[in-house]
């Protein structure tokens, strides 16, 4: 089973009210070092079999048509996570 990760972030010029609320809450817990937070979305798309270039292309197409709205969001990552060792390591550590 293959898995493609799609990550979507609000465009830099769009005010991110959710990120603003989070950055306001962090100092109350003692996290005073974070000056800005932006909140995005992560999608995990699973397929039978391997993640082929065709699967990645389809994920890219889905990312820009349904998973994001280009008026307010950027697709920042479309990746085969099995082939992406760094991402797998971070997930394993979580």
């Amino acid at each position: 089973m293959g898995r493609v990760v799609v990550e979507v972030m609000p465009k830099p010029e769009i005010l991110d009210p959710q990120g603003k609320a989070v950055v306001g809450a962090l100092p109350r817990l003692g996290f005073t070092q974070f000056t800005s937070v932006r909140q995005g979305k992560r999608f995990e798309l699973e397929v039978e079999g391997d993640v082929t270039p065709e699967v990645l292309a389809a994920a890219q197409e889905a990312a820009v048509t349904l998973l994001s709205n280009p008026v307010i969001e950027d697709v920042v990552r479309v990746a085969d996570v099995a082939a992406d060792a760094a991402a797998t390591t971070v997930e394993g550590a979580a």
Binding site: P10, E13, I14, L15, P17, L66, L67, V71, I72
Partner: protein, 239 residues
């Protein structure tokens, strides 16, 4: 209540899973003298209606983005085609969000800048009284209709905003306090042709004295919303 004419215009009201205000919209159509026709999102047939209202609510629970999943409903394909052909389409609140996701109107809506759900009687100024849905208002008229939303902050890039302003396509602007951080106080816009209008506030909740916003002539007496629906009937008679 206005008596429906023998050949009353048929105004479709499109319901998605999670739509809330379809009954009020249908009632507004009836009070204005039109014949409301219930349309279902899974049905690609618009049943020969003369205009369509996309009512408010939380279609698909606002999952992914408000209006993002509804945009791909079979009925929306037919609405997009009909709108491009000139049929009047009104998107209210979630309906406005669906129209932007469907690219019938530019820009998008994000969460209110203060992050709270807002519900209030909202004053608007009518800046374009020549669209299919506003032609019975006076240019510059101030109206009051309810506003209730969470993702109501209208955003677009400066070029798009300049284009909307330059072409007179800002139909409504918030008067007094901007309730959600919308760019340039924009509450509603139209397409180039003036047949597609979207706005965040709710005209369908201000159509009958006793059940509307407070007005100069009495508590809950406001019926400014009814003019949206008499406008579309007038535009269909002229067409």
């Amino acid at each position: 209540m206005a008596a429906p004419t023998l050949d009353a215009a048929r105004i479709g009201v499109l319901t998605f899973p999670g739509t809330l205000d379809d009954r009020d919209a249908a009632r507004a159509v009836r009070l204005a003298g039109g014949e409301p026709v219930s349309l279902w999102h899974a049905d690609a047939d618009l049943h020969g209606v003369d205009a369509v209202v996309l009512p408010g609510g939380f279609s698909y629970g606002d999952y992914l983005r408000a209006g993002a999943i509804s945009r791909f409903a079979p009925a929306m394909g037919a609405v997009v085609d009909a709108a491009r052909g000139g049929m009047p389409v009104l998107g209210i609140c979630n309906g406005f969000q669906i129209l932007t996701e469907a690219h019938l109107l530019p820009g998008s809506m994000v969460k209110n800048d203060h992050l709270h759900f807002v519900c209030r009687e909202q004053q608007l100024v009518v800046e374009n009284a020549s669209t299919a849905w506003t032609n019975q208002f006076a240019q510059g008229q101030t109206i009051t209709i309810p506003l209730k939303n969470q993702d109501g902050q209208f955003v677009a890039d400066d070029r798009t905003l300049d284009e909307l302003e330059g072409e007179g396509r800002v139909v409504f602007r918030y008067v007094g306090q901007n309730p959600n951080g919308s760019r340039r106080d924009i509450a509603g816009i139209t397409n180039e042709r003036g047949n597609v209008v979207g706005l965040m506030p709710h005209p369908e909740h201000a159509v009958e004295a006793g059940f509307g916003p407070d007005a100069a002539d009495g508590v809950r007496a406001g019926t400014d919303g009814l003019t949206f629906f008499t406008s579309v009937l007038a535009s269909l008679v002229r067409a």
